[in-house]
């Protein structure tokens, strides 16, 4: 078996169709929708999943399917991290033995979550594979540095899962759904454990390597912002995924980290003490992934633009130079084509479009 497993080889039966960030960014409708003024009756008025939305059931179904395929990828990511790195002291290509055990435990937890999500999908009338599967979660688990995997998956994406599950739990509670709230609460408990695992290991393994720790936290921020749909993640009641601050505190984030992600503690410093470049790289990766998904944020060609961020993501995630350049060119061309198409469409239908 190969040591590292590429996202394009993820095994699926014929019901599932996978898409990735590049494909999703080609959807011109997304860009236009973000710029459009929301009407009171449109979903843009509130992104929060509540039973009052006219499309509440279908939105919940789509979200649950997204959760399910996310859990499949989380299971695969945890399994790969348990496999890919030999037991050791955490330097080079090794991880502490106990970290491998924690990843195996996470694999079990995620397998249960897939089971729960599959049952809930059945309950909600969703077919397996009904929606396209975005592979971004597994992509965040592909780094050759296990610490970046923990930062991107356990701290950022599992932290997102806490927000999403909290919202689904509230949705189920308000709707009176006897299963949804129950199931989401059980999954929530597990996700808090996973985020804490990621926090603890990130601190321990990089205790002597501040550069590696910085890089890991940057990666976490990138992944975090990647999922800030329309920039609506925040702590206001109207945001799509409210931060569920209390859960983050329980999961091992310090007060400062809840508000501003900051560098942590002894373990993180220790392991990366002699590898400042590794820490810097991890932190940068986190920030790139974080910003890349700031839908509604800067879309252009500045250093913070989606495409510049996507390029840097690939560089840090281990794509070859050729692959990075080729995809970056394709992304830039696609963006120009979409801009041109929008301009022509608006000219044709008039300023009211």
């Amino acid at each position: 078996m190969r040591q590292f497993f590429p996202v394009e080889d993820l095994a699926r039966d014929e019901r599932f169709v996978q898409t990735n960030m590049a494909e999703r960014m080609k959807d011109g409708r997304t860009a236009i929708d973000v710029e459009k003024t929301s009407s009171a009756k449109s979903r843009g008025a509130t992104k929060r999943l509540t039973p009052e939305r006219h499309d509440a059931s279908d939105a919940a179904r789509g979200l649950m399917h997204g959760i399910m395929v996310g859990e499949i990828q989380a299971l695969e990511g945890a399994g790969r991290t348990a496999h890919d790195f030999a037991a050791g002291d955490g330097t080079n290509d090794t991880v502490p033995f106990e970290l491998k055990l924690d990843m195996a435990r996470q694999a079990w937890d995620e397998a249960r979550h897939v089971e729960i999500s599959a049952k809930l999908s059945d309950w909600m009338g969703t077919e397996l594979g009904e929606f396209a599967e975005n592979t971004v979660l597994f992509e965040a688990a592909c780094s050759n540095d296990p610490i970046l995997r923990l930062a991107g998956v356990n701290r950022a994406l599992e932290g997102l899962a806490i927000d999403v599950f909290t919202q689904m739990k509230e949705f189920g509670d308000v709707a009176g759904d006897p299963f949804l709230e129950f199931c989401e609460d059980w999954m929530l408990a597990d996700e808090v454990t996973h985020v804490k695992m990621g926090s603890d290991w990130l601190r321990k393994v990089t205790a002597n390597d501040p550069e590696r720790r910085t890089k890991a936290l940057e990666f976490q921020q990138v992944v975090d912002k990647l999922f800030s749909f329309g920039g609506a993640r925040g702590e206001s009641a109207d945001s799509s995924f409210s931060l569920a601050k209390r859960f983050r505190e329980l999961a091992g984030f310090t007060d400062d980290e809840v508000t501003h992600v900051k560098m942590g503690s002894d373990w993180l410093r220790k392991v990366t003490a002699n590898d400042p470049e590794r820490r810097t790289k991890a932190l940068e990766f986190q920030q790139v992934v974080d910003k890349l998904f700031s839908f509604g944020g800067a879309r252009g060609e500045s250093a913070d633009s989606s495409f510049s961020l996507a390029k840097r993501f690939r560089e840090l995630a281990g794509f070859t130079d050729d692959e990075v350049e080729t995809i970056s060119q394709m992304d830039a061309e696609a963006l120009e084509e979409r801009k041109e198409a929008v301009r022509k469409y608006r000219e044709r239908v008039g300023a009211d479009a």
Partner: protein
């Protein structure tokens, strides 16, 4: 005395072993030998959980995918139990004894984990559930039945918990295999892969080497201590 008070002269001396407690001292393994075996168990359980975890992303069948994730944890927990047992057997550096029994066991694991393509789920399951786990069940059963019930009670306790998992996991895997092997070609593939792996395991002698399940010459000490 009729009021329930305790007779101060009633003796509290009892035999150290209740009449129904037939456990005895003799066991086949010294502390060092036990540590060696436990190190082999740990190494093999680690290789198994790594393989199961790595395979999750490679199998398209959803039910198999989830089972592998669950079983990955079971064997990781077994490895952890052995990891904690080693220092109790005077091995303060567990990694020193966390080794394969011999070179053939290394080759076995390499052969078992070699199938990776998504269409090779049958081969992956056969290696684990028709070759390795039955060997685990055999080695653990032999160890439990031959070690000292009194001096090595902690190992027996761990083996009992582990064996429960091994039997449950073996059943899960075997049922998955039976549901997937539905054509003569499937049968052939399963049999050929099992034959390949069994041949290497026979070379190795088992998870702890040639005496994994004892030999005709192996006897426990006769008589009491």
């Amino acid at each position: 005395m009729g009021n329930g008070a305790v007779d101060a002269h009633e003796s509290t001396a009892r035999a150290p072993f209740a009449p129904w407690d037939r456990r005895d001292i003799p066991g086949s393994f010294s502390v060092d030998e036990t540590a060696r075996r436990v190190g082999n168990y740990k190494w093999t359980e680690m290789k198994l959980f790594e393989a199961l975890g790595g395979w999750v992303a490679t199998v398209p069948e959803l039910d198999v995918k989830m089972r592998l994730g669950t079983h990955c944890y079971h064997h990781a927990w077994h490895a952890d139990l052995w990891h904690k047992r080693l220092p109790e057997l005077r091995e303060m550096k567990p990694e020193r004894l966390t080794v394969p029994a011999n070179e053939a066991m290394e080759r076995f694991i390499a052969a078992m984990t070699e199938p990776e393509a998504p269409e090779l789920t049958i081969e992956k399951l056969v290696g684990v559930y028709r070759v390795l786990i039955p060997r685990f069940i055999a080695a653990y059963t032999y160890h439990r039945n031959n070690t000292s019930e009194i001096t090595d009670a902690p190992t027996i306790r761990s083996i009992n918990f582990i064996l429960q998992d091994e039997f449950d996991d073996w059943r899960d895997g075997e049922m998955l295999l039976q549901s997937m092997i539905t054509t003569p070609d499937h049968v052939r593939r399963a049999a050929e892969h099992q034959e390949r792996l069994e041949a290497i395991m026979v070379e190795a002698g088992g998870i702890t080497g040639p005496d994994s399940i004892g030999t005709a010459e192996t006897t426990s000490t006769e008589g009491g201590a």
